[in-house]
Amino acid sequence: MSKLMNFNLRDAGAGIWAGWNRPTRTVFVVAFVVLVGLLPFAPSWGPTSFLNTPIASYIDVLVFPVGMFVLMALGLNIVVGKSGLLDLGYVAFFAIGAYSQALLSTLLGWNTWEILPVGIALAMVSGVILGLPALRLRGDYLAIITLGFGEIVRILAINIRGTGGPNGIPGIPNPPSVLGIKFGLMDSNNFFWLVLFMIILVVWMIRRFTVRRPGRAWEAIRQDEDVAELMGVKTLVYKLWSFVIGAAVGGAAGVIYASKVMVISPDMFKFELSILILACVVFGGIGNIWGVILGASILAYIPERIRFLTDARQLVFGLVLIIMMNLRPDGLLPRKKREKIEAKRTI
């Protein structure tokens, strides 16, 4: 039993991966992406029909929450996992992305593809505005400031004129077609593939960052901030970067989300969502991209799958969190053992 508990799938997987040559890796990645891309058709094929969600529309569940949670968890993982900063208000960036889509499309008539860079930029700017004062603080003080920021964004959305107050903004247009791919009300498959494409892009970006200077700087900051500073790492600058890049991913997710659901309201961006995304990161394995993806998919999918339990489903969800964290405190796919010893000290 204890051997099973200590079995580290991530290390085993990394070992196999290291043994492959380049063509094998390419084939594997392509095959994997195609397999995930086929997920929308799972319910109509016998052996995978158990995946179908009984009450919610399966294909919509794949876009939100599953796809969006994976995207946001990857973004939050840059902040929490890579550089070890506890952010409890990540939903704010998601909300900023969603509200830029809603306001710019309904007021100025811009389309989603024009808004996407603007939404990302706005999320990044707000990341700087929040990060500059907050990142000078450490640990749990940072946590409470980010929590407050998340609440402030929601309260602003409720109270300032022009955001529709508690009722939100209806009538957000879907994105226009690109290369003949339509993104209408009935084209949830295309939305799923769009989100999948964004996820792949983000994974690629994170992997690039990890092996370059920012990744090394984040790693140093996570392990020991004082030592990193003494070694000449500009800690504030790199912490700010990780914050801003995380914000950008959240903002992008928000823009696409708003154009998918067509109506947004402040209720969608509550503190609970920040916590849920953080739970995805920790549940899957802090700092490990594949763990985070797996954790987010599971935690987003389970509540929809057990929707037939109605009232009790959140209760079951809470129990799953407790039991899983007790069985595997480092998450489903923990990061490398070498890094884990250090992680205990900082996070």
Partner: protein
């Protein structure tokens, strides 16, 4: 913006703010004491508060048989009901707090898991308590019977010294005085402080860490339960998600005062209560949370350890 309110209602706002702030201070003890020994945010404390309010309610309605139609009671019967409700709320909250420690923290601590893992399991416990109570109460808000007639001691410059307001001021102060003596004078109190200074060293001095941690949760639960009783006496209603706002406010208060010590919780709670009252009077209650957080950011920028925090406040190894 309506600054004239401050002039016209100053004494009244001061009194209300003080009462609210001291309730916050009691709840924030549940965060600050646990943070002191574990360096962890006790996320489930908001649900401990919520269950405390329901303990008061159920004792008065289901066990003692009062209804919302009941007339206020007097004399010995009133004393008995109030003290019984206070004790029930404190004891139930303390039991839940200790359960939280056992379920969410103990195993993970034994395994030497990272801090975020405990945070998530505490959030899991919090969800279970929240949703469990939502099912039990049918997600309906409940109002408590008004057993205490709300007579006033008198009025000074518009400030109404009502009995429930006074209770919400006097009882927390008594608890704080008592608790302060407890942590400075008794053996257990001293060991709690020792663990919060250095876990390793207290272990070497022969302190049973697990026992100290359990007692810390117990004390945090007791004070949170007392706060829940006072809340029910003053505001007279509860709902299953009531802990959320209270939890955020109390945690903010703890950080504002300097998390990890008693004085911080006390003054942080009062500061937050006053700020909320004055902010809602001047710029409207919709903006009170924004004001609170802006003030919090400014305070932390100039005093990164809170108003009364220790000088050395690093994430411990």
């Amino acid at each position: 913006m309506n600054f004239s309110v401050i002039q016209s209602q100053f004494p009244s706002l001061l009194l209300q703010g003080l009462a609210l702030g001291l309730i916050y201070a009691l709840v924030s003890l549940g965060y600050t004491m646990v943070y002191g020994v574990l360096r962890l945010i006790n996320f489930a404390n908001s649900e401990v508060f919520m269950i405390g309010t329901f303990a008061t309610l159920y004792l008065q309605t289901n066990i003692m048989g009062y209804t919302n139609m009941s007339q206020p009671i007097h004399g010995a019967k009133l004393w008995f009901t109030m003290i019984a409700s206070l004790l029930a709320s404190m004891i139930v909250a303390a039991i839940i707090a200790v359960l939280v420690e056992v379920v969410a923290y103990r195993r993970l601590r034994a395994k030497g898991a990272n801090r975020l893992a405990s945070l998530i399991s505490a959030i899991g416990v919090s969800i279970v308590l929240l949703e469990g109570m939502s099912i039990i109460t049918g997600a309906q808000p409940r109002s408590a019977p008004r057993l205490l007639e709300k007579w006033s001691f008198g009025e000074i410059a518009g400030a109404n010294f009502r009995i429930d307001t006074m209770m919400a001021i006097v009882i927390p102060i008594i608890i704080f005085v008592f608790l302060n003596r407890f942590v400075t004078k008794t053996r257990l109190g001293k060991s709690i402080r020792a663990v919060s200074m250095s876990e390793e060293n207290s272990k070497l001095m022969g302190i049973n860490i697990n026992r100290v941690i359990t007692y810390t949760f117990l004390i945090g639960g007791l004070t949170t339960g007392a706060a829940a009783f006072l809340f029910m006496t003053v505001y007279e209603n509860t709902v299953f998600f009531i802990g959320f706002n209270m939890g955020i406010a109390a945690f903010t208060a703890a950080v504002l005062g300097g998390i990890g010590n008693l004085r911080g919780a006390f003054y942080g709670g009062i500061a937050l209560g006053l700020m909320e009252q004055f902010a809602s009077a001047v710029i409207g209650s919709a903006w009170k949370a924004v004001t609170v957080f802006v003030v919090l950011v400014v305070v932390l920028l100039f005093k990164p350890n809170g108003l009364f925090g220790e000088a050395v406040q690093q994430t411990r190894t």
